[in-house]
Symmetry: none
Subunit: 191 residues, 4 copies
DNA sequence: GATGAATGAGTGTTCATTCAT
DNA sequence: GATGAATGAACACTCATTCAT
């Protein structure tokens, strides 16, 4: 494994465990098995190292979601795919998702701006999916932008809940409930 | 205004603006118009000052939500009331809600534990409301606990979205959309 | 008991227990049962309060020792009286002696200078006693000044030892040994 | 000179000059010609730095005294050697002895306990020397433990006197007088 | 390229002292 | 005269960053 990669992996583990402020550069160096100075040969600062992690994960999300959105599947299935992508990334890289969910919005340098931009892009993709779904008669006539926010919010909420409450097998429990409610609503037909 | 209150207000504003780690005790002192040492007459540490703010807001939420849950109204209306309470508290004290939403789960002393406990209590109340709603034929037969998590998470997410994206008139925009979707679902009857 | 006296007693107890730097003015105030501000009506500063205690004890020593020196007794007995005075004062006011022994020479303001002057005066008295003793054929022909230092040093040493090692019944144990050695020497006649 | 050594030397000088509480870490850093943070690479706290100095000197004393005690010389000479060791160490490292004498018993962390233990060990060695001296007919039949306390205390007191009164050529003045008195006593044979 | 010893700006906290009541 | 709330200068300690080797 390359040095840069070793540093990134160590940083992900440390930031996820102890948060941005709780993580020392020396922790990362030690955990990566490199000298402290070496980190600075690859990343100009702690902040940029942190930002790197956040941004690369956001890009990965954006790309995968964009692919799903253009798959040609029913918009109903696209939404389910988007949810699956989130849970998959969570399973594949719990630590990075933990960082995203817990620290993504901390007021650390320009991280927050990057995060906002990343989220906004994803929201826009989802919003377009919903618009298409409405146009194609799959979804009721809801406000697409707000609904995108709500939909993604739901997924993030469940991820966060799993992380915070330290639940195992998060996705299996919640996946069906989320879609049951978001697709069919909570109320009985009579109400 | 009492000194303690001045300090609390200044602290809320500073923590909301700059986050826990970005806020200096001297900022709070200056913004409160008191000496740095004075803060320590009222709060034993920065952490406890922060925790004080978090906990008192969580208690306020819990109490108001408990009252709403016992109001005797239809469970449908209780859920709407609970959402209204969140938006109201947000309007009344944007800064504290901002702190709760942005920093409540940071790894700062025991804050995270307090926060988790507070959230768990509220989730339990909502879970009972949903159970009753199912029993009374208002709600479909969903899993009450998971649905409570999803419902509350949704509201928090929307609050967070409003804060992060700096939207104005947050509640007016989202309130109806949230309940339209969560009550009636996203899919057209045919799907 | 007058307020000034209450403060002095409380200060003696606190300084003896916790040392100068370990004692807070608020400790003294509380232990004296007065307000913190009240101390400053009687003593201009913590340092002066401390100095007051040191100096008044040194004066008491000086006076009693001067009286003993002028008693007309044999110089042998005068030395024993001087030792007795030390042990008596220790018994009567352990705390002040503790302060004298443990903190008298700390580099706190001008305390050290006062202490040095007080000790020098006492040494001079003892030196004169020894001179007279030599003149009167009681003592061997030793250097009176150095012998005074040694004699007083012995007594202080034993006091300090008792305080540090927290021995009880200090004086009974050591009094005879000190005078046995200092009067008759350690060596057997043959050596 | 190694960094650790530079720091230790600077710390000795500063502590001796200004006492523990009067010495700032930044003073030590400046005087050592290193940055403030560098001190903390070698010593975990001001207290430990101080304790380090105290303890290493106490160990040095103990070792040298133990060697002297086992030299096989007459117990009379061993006592004189022990006194010489004290004066030698004083000459070699006035500052550390000054710290020992002036601050060794202050209530600073666990220093006092270390100091007490160190002194107790040395007292025990001396006590054994005196016991042997009595057994071998060199010393009169005195209490060995108390005599050890008195003997060592006397030496320490004279060192302290020299430091406090800022006398030069301390040892030359006092050495003979101390042993004249302590060996042969103060009284004329008739008394 | 890699290192880790050195750095010093930055921060939470303490506590003697003041002064309005 | 007595008080104790308020003060802010002072200080130990941290840690991201640098740079000589």
């Amino acid at each position: 494994m390359g040095t840069r990669e070793k540093i990134l992996n160590a940083a992900k583990a440390q930031f996820a465990n102890k948060g941005f402020h709780g993580t020392l550069m020396s922790d990362i160096a030690q955990s990566a098995g490199v000298g402290k100075g070496t980190i600075y040969r690859y990343f100009p600062s702690k902040e940029e190292l942190f930002g790197s992690i956040i941004n690369s994960q956001l890009e990965s999300f954006e790309n995968r979601i964009r692919v799903a959105a253009n798959s040609g599947d029913s918009e109903r299935d696209v939404l389910m795919d988007i949810a699956k992508i989130h849970f998959e990334e969570y399973r594949a890289s719990k630590e990075v998702i933990e960082i995203l969910v817990m620290e993504g919005l901390n007021k650390i340098g320009d991280i927050k701006q990057d995060f906002k931009k990343g989220i906004a892009k994803i929201e826009q993709i989802v919003s377009q999916v919903i618009s298409k779904g409405i146009y194609n008669g799959v979804f009721r006539d809801v406000d697409p932008k707000r609904t995108a926010v709500i939909f993604l919010g739901l997924i993030w909420t469940v991820l966060k809940h799993g992380i915070v409450m330290e639940e195992r097998d998060l996705e299996k429990k919640y996946f069906d409930t989320i879609f049951d409610i978001i697709f069919h609503g909570l109320l009985c037909p009579d109400y």
